[in-house]
Amino acid sequence: MDDGELMSPMVIDALSEAGNIGAGHAATSLSKLLGEHIMNHITKSVVVPIEKVPEELGGGDKIVAGIYTTFAGELCGGILMLFPEDSAKTISKVLTGTDIEGHKLTDLQNSMLCEIGNICLCWYLSAISKMVNTEIIPTPPVTAYDMIEAAIDLPLIELGKVADTAMIIMTEFRGEIHSISGIFLMLLEPDSQKEMARRLGVC
C-alpha cells in the first residue's frame, strides 16, 4: 500500500465485520455487568484519513472517556474506545453507584471505565484475531477523561506516524433501562493491513 492510499475494501469489510462480532460479544459482557439484557447495533462504520478523524467524531470540546491500547504481533496498531460523557456517567452510576462529579474521575471510576473499555476493545481484537487466525497481543490499557480532541490526539499522533487511515465504528448498546454509546477507533499499520489482506486471501 502506498502512502495516502485508503485501506483495501476487503480489509475494511473484515474490520467492520469484526466490529460487529466484537460489539456483539461486548454487549453480552455489558449485559452481565449492567444486569439487564443489552442489544447492540452499529450506527456507523467508516474509514477516514487520520486528519479527518476529529471532524468525523464531531470534534471539539465534548467530554469523553477514552480507553487506549496498542497491540503487536503479526498485526500492529492501536485501538481507542470512546464513551461519551452521558454513557460514562451511566456506566459509573450502575457499576460503582457513584456519580462523576466535576468531570473528575475517582480512582475507582477511572479503573472501572478502563476495564469496561478494555473488555470491549479485547472483544473486538479477539474477533479480528479469530477471523484472520493470528495472535494479537494488546498492551495494558490507559484512560483519559477529557475533551474529545484532547483524548484522541495522542493516539492519532502516535499512530499517524505509521498509519494513514482510521476505522471508526460507532455502536449503540441498548438495554431496557440503560443505553450506552461506544465508539471504536481502530488504526492498523499499512504492513499489517497488507498482512491482513494476505490472510484473508485477497492480495
Binding site: P54, Y68, G102, A144, D146, A150, L154
Partner: protein, 163 residues
C-alpha cells in the same frame, strides 16, 4: 461581534482584529499564538509533532501547522503577508499535556517535545515568548483575542486563566 475561527488539529490560521482564534481540546498538541500589537494581527497553529523527521510523506507534503518547526515559519510568513511586523510580534504557547496516565515513556513525552520544538523555533525566529502554559495532564481549550493579544485558557476541571 468578532468572528471566531476554529483551528483544527494540524491547521493554522491568521486573522485581523476583531477576531478570535480558538483551538478546542488540546491534549499533547501545542497551540502557538502569535500576535503583533502594531497591526493587531494574530495567528494560531495547532501543532501535532515536533518536526518532520518522524512523519510520513503524506503529512510533510502539506505541513501547514502540523510541525513545531514549520508552523512558526509558516505563521510568520502569512502574518507578514497580511501586514504584520515581525519585530513587534510576541508569542504565547499552551498545551503539550500527557493525557493518559501510565502510558509508555516514549509517548509520554510527545507533548513536551512539541512544546520544546515550538520554543526553539520561536527563538530562532527571534520571537519572544511572553506567556506559556504547557505540560500537566489536562486538555486545554485556548482562545486568542486579536484585539488585545490576550490568550484565554480553560480546562474542563474548572481552571480558567489569561496569559
Amino acid at each position: 461581534m468578532a468572528s471566531v475561527y476554529l483551528v483544527g488539529i494540524g491547521q493554522m490560521c491568521v486573522a485581523h482584529s476583531p477576531a478570535r482564534l480558538v483551538c478546542l481540546g488540546l491534549g499533547s498538541c501545542v497551540a502557538i499564538a502569535l500576535w503583533d500589537k502594531s497591526s493587531k494581527i494574530g495567528g494560531m497553529a495547532h501543532v501535532m509533532l515536533p518536526n518532520e523527521m518522524c512523519a510520513p510523506k503524506r503529512l510533510i507534503a502539506n505541513p501547514a501547522g502540523k510541525f513545531g518547526t514549520t508552523a512558526v515559519k509558516g505563521l510568520v510568513r502569512e502574518m507578514k503577508e497580511e501586514g504584520a511586523n515581525v519585530y513587534t510580534m510576541v508569542a504565547k504557547i499552551a498545551g503539550g499535556a500527557n493525557m493518559f496516565k501510565d502510558v509508555s515513556s516514549s509517548m509520554k513525552d510527545i507533548g513536551l517535545k512539541n512544546a520544546d520544538a515550538v520554543k526553539c523555533s520561536l527563538e530562532e525566529g527571534r520571537i519572544k515568548v511572553v506567556g506559556e502554559d504547557v505540560g500537566g495532564s489536562q486538555g486545554r481549550t485556548v482562545d486568542l483575542d486579536t484585539s488585545t493579544g490576550r490568550l484565554h485558557i480553560k480546562t474542563i476541571h474548572g481552571m480558567t486563566k489569561y496569559i
